[in-house]
């Protein structure tokens, strides 16, 4: 039972991670390239752990990426991804030309599946705004491989061939609701950087 997975000495993780420093993303304006949001509290910028070197994808967290993660992207062009592909034979979803809102939802769902989540579903699409731009807002359910229920909510908006996303994922037990008010404010504040 993986209640607490067997872990030998923590020292071994050190070898993997010690060279990385996680910066703070303080409350206030936060920019991901041409996208800007206003953070209502301090977050940790865990992009160095999660974005896999994708320059246009920023990932913030409060309690670490297993317990909450907020993706904020610059405008992604055709051919770009939300998730770094681990190898040529394991591609992750790429944006295609001329996608509609339902395909942007599919792109987010497939990207979440590519992160290793299972049983990913999207629901309740609704019209929303990203600054002055038209956007689609929708909700997500998924599960970790170990069967922990995960909830999510996302905002996607396309303008002039560039698509920006804000995506929040957290365990349904406690963590999603605990940060939802902050995430709502972040999404409401999202706009193209001016």
């Amino acid at each position: 039972m993986r209640i607490l997975r067997p872990l030998l000495a923590a020292a071994a993780v050190l070898a993997l991670a010690a060279c990385e420093t996680i910066p703070k993303a303080p409350a206030g304006p936060y920019k991901a390239g041409a996208s800007q949001v206003t953070l209502g509290r301090d977050w940790s910028d865990v992009s160095v752990l999660l974005a896999g070197g994708l320059k246009k994808v920023k990932v913030l967290s409060i309690d670490g990426p297993i317990l909450n993660r907020l993706y904020i992207t610059d405008g992604l062009a055709v051919g770009e991804s939300l998730v770094k592909s681990p190898s040529k034979e394991r591609p992750t979803p790429k944006l295609r030309a001329g996608m509609n809102s339902s395909e942007r939802m599919e792109f987010v769902a497939d990207s979440i599946a590519a992160m290793g989540y299972q049983r990913v579903e999207t629901m309740k699409p609704r019209p929303a705004k990203f600054g002055e731009q038209q956007a689609v807002r929708f909700d997500i359910t998924a599960r970790t491989e170990d069967g922990l229920d995960v909830q999510g909510t996302a905002l996607a908006s396309e303008a002039a061939g560039k698509t920006a996303f804000v995506l929040f994922l957290a365990p349904a037990e406690h963590y999603f609701q605990a940060s939802l008010p902050e995430v709502e404010k972040v999404m409401a504040s999202a706009r193209p950087a001016g």
Binding site: L7, L8, E89, M115
Partner: protein, 412 residues
């Protein structure tokens, strides 16, 4: 669960300079329980733990009818070992089945999707039952130890590097891979031993092929299924989108160290010729059992993003001329998502074909409308989108479709 690591372990095996040939021993008695202080008991204990984890996985398919069907086929070929087997169907889009020495057995949806009939499923399960009945796992573990003794220094170095590589090649964003990165580095020995139990020698694979074929033929299944299925899998590999996959040998399972060569298919054909004709004719039982899951499993398959292989699988499933609404819809989905030149027009044709079938999902009309809109057929698009709204008036994306319809009307 062990995909990435299986590759790392492959790197270890490749360094093995000495491959000891294990002696084939007598089949195990049904209902076997090993002595508590034996290595085998340790292996069972480990597998009992893996089994408890499997029961809690998100991918576990708990559908009673599907489980009953697969279990029935296992029991027909496992005969005396039926009582030893505990089956778990996993919704994972890869061709894989395993049977651990404690009886814990997994059958993955990617395998069920790719078997054309019950005989093909019986063949794979029979192959796994043979690994089980002939104690191949424990022999594989002992062989692994002998091999590593011979190459200890090299293997130690590679095992660590290999695990780091596996942790790195797992998706870095995955919550699971973060967990695995924290545990697999440390659990290197533990995980290495688990995968070693499923890394069978060439002799074991040959034995599982041939003894397995006899076992399924004795249960009344068609022994020709062996050659057919093996060749089908090899053919699918050649349709992959990826050069490296096309050039790789096909493997029967994710742990397999020995390729599914055309020679193995020929050996099965030769053995099949010596075996009695089948007494079971139940071609449609397999399709009936997997029918409720076709849509979900094809959606999972698409998430592998190897559209060539998914399209090949859909073509094979379409040969029976059943489920053409669902199958054509997913053919359209694969083409739309691939998006190469000409794919959109072919996607429109596939969606169109889907809508002509009684089992077409409502989304087929929505996607048909979109594909027509993009290929310049505004009138056709409007008709299809309107049909979608009439068939799925409560759909939560209806407002999006109405927006598209409005835009099309303004464009007139």
């Amino acid at each position: 669960m062990f995909r990435g690591r299986a590759q790392a372990m492959g790197a270890v095996a490749a360094t093995a300079l000495v491959a000891a040939t294990p002696a084939l021993s007598a089949p195990r008695p049904p209902g076997l329980k090993p002595a508590v202080d034996s290595v085998e008991a340790g292996l069972w204990d480990l597998m009992d733990k893996a089994e408890r984890e499997a029961r809690q996985k998100a991918e576990l398919n708990t559908d009673a009818a599907l489980n009953a069907y697969v279990r029935d086929v296992i029991c027909k070929v496992a005969t005396e070992y039926c009582g030893d087997v505990r089956l778990y169907v996993m919704d994972r889009p890869f061709f894989n089945a395993t049977m651990a020495p404690n009886g814990y057995s997994e059958v993955w949806s990617g395998l069920l999707l790719r078997c054309e009939d019950e005989s093909e499923l019986a063949l794979v399960l029979s192959h796994e039952v043979t690994h089980f009945s002939e104690n191949h796992s424990i022999e594989a573990h002992e062989a692994d130890k002998r091999r590593r003794n011979a190459t200890m220094v090299v293997a130690m170095g590679i095992a660590v590097v290999g695990t780091v590589a596996a942790a790195g090649s797992a998706n870095p964003q995955s919550a699971q891979s973060i967990m695995d990165a924290t545990s697999s580095l440390i659990d290197v020995v533990y995980l290495a031993s688990i995968s070693s139990y499923f890394r069978f020698s060439r002799e074991h694979e040959t034995e599982a092929d041939i003894v397995g074929l006899r076992r399924m033929a004795a249960a009344g299944y068609s022994p020709q299924a062996g050659g057919t299925l093996w060749r089908g899998l090899i053919a699918e590999t050649t349709t992959s989108d990826f050069k490296r996959v096309r050039e790789q040998d096909t493997r029967l399972g994710i742990f397999d160290s020995h390729p599914l060569s055309p020679l193995r298919a020929e050996a099965l054909d030769a053995e099949a010729a010596k075996l009695p004709a089948p007494t079971r004719v139940a071609a449609n039982r397999h399709r009936a059992a997997i029918r409720p899951f076709l849509a979900a499993w094809l959606k999972d398959d698409l998430r592998r993003r190897d559209f060539g292989q998914t399209l090949h699988t859909i073509d094979r499933l379409s040969k029976a001329k059943e489920d053409l609404g669902v199958l054509n819809f997913y053919r359209g989905e694969a083409l739309r998502q691939r998006g190469k030149a000409g794919d959109l027009a072919n996607a429109a044709l596939a969606y169109q074909a889907a809508t002509e079938q009684a089992d077409a999902p409502p989304a087929a009309w929505r996607e048909l409308g979109e594909a027509r809109r993009r290929t310049g057929d505004a009138a056709g698009a409007k008709a299809a989108l309107a049909t979608y709204l009439s068939r799925a008036p409560e759909a939560d994306d209806a407002w999006m479709v109405r927006e598209t319809l409005d835009a099309l009307s303004k464009g007139d």
